[in-house]
């Protein structure tokens, strides 16, 4: 039995970057189920069919702003939209991210800069843009405002041929600790924590597995799912909702003493 629909986020406003699919979408759905109003951002045009369908399904409490997390101007536009529609923000999930794999000798500077700009600059810009609004809004709710930065187990342990992704996710981990300390020391009512998912069945993972298949690492994606499942102590990959349940805990007042922490949700992968 989950806490689904407890309405513990009633009256709160949340923003989720990269919210159209995968872990981001799961967070959006969970926050809505708990009574929050949610703004999601992603790369699709605002009049695109996926956006229309998604908002139609999510209902009135959800809204969408097209924004590339790497762009300062886009973040300003998101701040504008959130301020006009809600005038406050209690929960920020910096989720948008991409992956990059390959031997270091074949990694282009362009590819490196692209992953750093999305996975690292994107988190930095999201936090910087919303700190003033969240500091004001955080004072209204028990436990304060909550920033949830999506890192990865690849921000904790290295994997061969994942250097760019490893570097970007490691950066998110320590960036989060530093801002947690800064907000705490300045008595700003904002907590900041990082999420470290293991292997989660999302479009990102499926596309990544497909690329490995194209490279001849395996015959079909399902073989890779089976392989990764067998190497995970819990014996399976995660469903995005299992990441959303941790994001929900961090978003709620229940986590009021938790800041600067890292929540690993990996089925035991990094315990081995």
């Amino acid at each position: 039995m989950s806490d689904l629909g407890s309405q513990r986020l009633k009256g709160r406003v949340a923003l989720v970057s990269g919210g159209l699919r995968g872990i981001g979408l799961a967070c959006v759905e969970r926050f809505l189920a708990e009574g929050a109003e949610v703004v999601l951002t992603d790369l699709e045009a605002e009049d695109g069919t996926l956006v229309g369908e998604t908002l139609g399904r999510l209902g009135q409490a959800a809204s969408y702003v097209r924004a590339n997390v790497t762009s300062e101007e886009d973040w300003e536009a998101v701040l504008d939209a959130v301020t006009r529609r809600h005038g406050k923000l209690h929960i920020l999930v910096n989720n948008a991210g991409i992956d990059l794999t390959g031997p270091i000798a074949e990694t282009s500077l362009e590819g490196w800069r692209r992953i750093m700009s999305i996975n690292v600059d994107g988190v930095f810009l999201g936090v910087r843009t919303f700190v003033p609004l969240m500091a004001a809004s955080g004072a209204e709710v028990a436990g304060g405002a909550s920033i949830i930065n999506v890192s990865s187990i690849m921000g904790l342990v290295g994997l061969s041929e994942v250097s760019g992704y490893n570097a970007s996710k490691g950066a998110v981990r320590l960036f989060t600790k530093s801002i947690a300390l800064e907000f705490a020391e300045k008595k700003m009512p904002i907590r900041a924590n990082s999420l470290h998912p293991g292997f989660v069945v999302t479009p990102l993972l499926k596309e990544g597995f497909q690329r490995w298949v194209d490279k001849g690492v395996a015959e079909k994606p399902q073989d890779l799912v089976d392989l990764m499942s067998s190497r995970t102590p819990i014996g399976r990959l995660a469903d995005p909702s299992e990441l959303a349940s941790a994001a929900f805990f961090l978003a709620s007042s229940d986590s009021s003493y938790m800041t600067g922490a890292e929540l690993v949700i990996d089925g035991g992968w990094t315990a081995q």
Binding site: M1, A246, S255, M258, L263, T270, A271
Partner: protein, 259 residues
């Protein structure tokens, strides 16, 4: 339907502090709760307030564990959550000064007691009707990562139980159990024990300030703030979390404080 309805939970050292807070919260969310300890009158109060069931029991006593396990299996037929919470610093000291008895007392309760809790909980959960499933949580401490010079046994035992949960989590995976095992690492929590330490320190104001200053938040945790995380681990919300250590310390160990 409450989040923990239908679940049976065990809390060791549940008569005071974080353990009592956990009993309250788990009951409030609908779980049946069995808790252990030795302070009968404190236990009676918790029972009266929550409807939980008390068993007088010492976590380091192997034979007592067999009896407790039998009782849980007979009365409840299952175990879904175990919180290895009982802990002590009685007899502790610096590595230079601690007595062998003091060392063995702290290691016996904090480390051997936690191992016995995980062991018996895992055995019970492996026999659950519907298949081997459940959640086991060990109460470590932020001192697992930041050792105290004046409490060597406590620091060592709290680090050891982090390795304990990882080993147990991997073992559960090897056996294909749906049993997850994790640790929480709280910062300073304002329990009656800490309040007593403050009051009897000779300089309560300075001692309180020292405890509060350990966290950049400038305060200690309230028991309820730890109980919220305990309940999350007891619920199905944490299904994919195993072998993890969750720090809940108001950023005490996130890094160094600014200058």
């Amino acid at each position: 339907m409450k989040r923990l309805e239908g679940k049976v939970a065990l809390v060791t050292g549940g008569t005071s502090g974080i353990g009592a807070g956990a009993v309250h919260r788990l009951r409030a969310e609908g779980a049946k709760v069995v808790f252990t300890g030795s302070n009968r009158s404190a236990a009676d109060e918790v029972c009266a307030a929550t409807g939980a069931e008390f068993v007088s029991h010492n976590v380091r006593d192997g034979a007592a564990w067999d009896a407790l396990s039998e009782r849980i299996e007979r009365d409840h037929g299952r175990l879904d959550f175990a919180f290895a919470n009982a802990g002590t610093e009685h007899g502790d000291g610096s590595v230079e000064d601690i007595t062998l008895d003091g060392w063995e007392n702290v290691i016996g309760v904090n480390q051997t007691g936690a191992m016995l809790t995980v062991q018996h909980a895992m055995r019970l959960m492996s026999r659950n009707p519907g298949g081997a499933a459940g959640s086991i949580l060990v109460n470590s401490s932020m001192n697992a990562h930041r050792a105290m010079g004046n409490f060597v046994a406590y620091s060592v035992s709290k680090a050891a139980v982090v390795a304990l949960v990882k080993s147990a989590a991997v073992h559960a995976g090897n056996r294909k159990y749906r049993i997850r095992v994790n640790a929480i690492l709280p910062g300073v929590v304002e329990t009656a024990l800490i309040r007593n330490l403050i009051d009897t320190s000779g300089d309560p104001t300075a001692t309180r300030a020292a405890y509060e200053g350990l966290s950049p938040l400038g305060r200690m945790a309230r028991v309820e703030e730890i109980a919220g995380l305990v309940a999350w681990f007891a619920s199905d919300e944490s299904q994919f979390v195993s072998g993890s250590e969750y720090v809940i310390d108001g950023a005490s160990t996130a890094g160094m404080m600014g200058v």
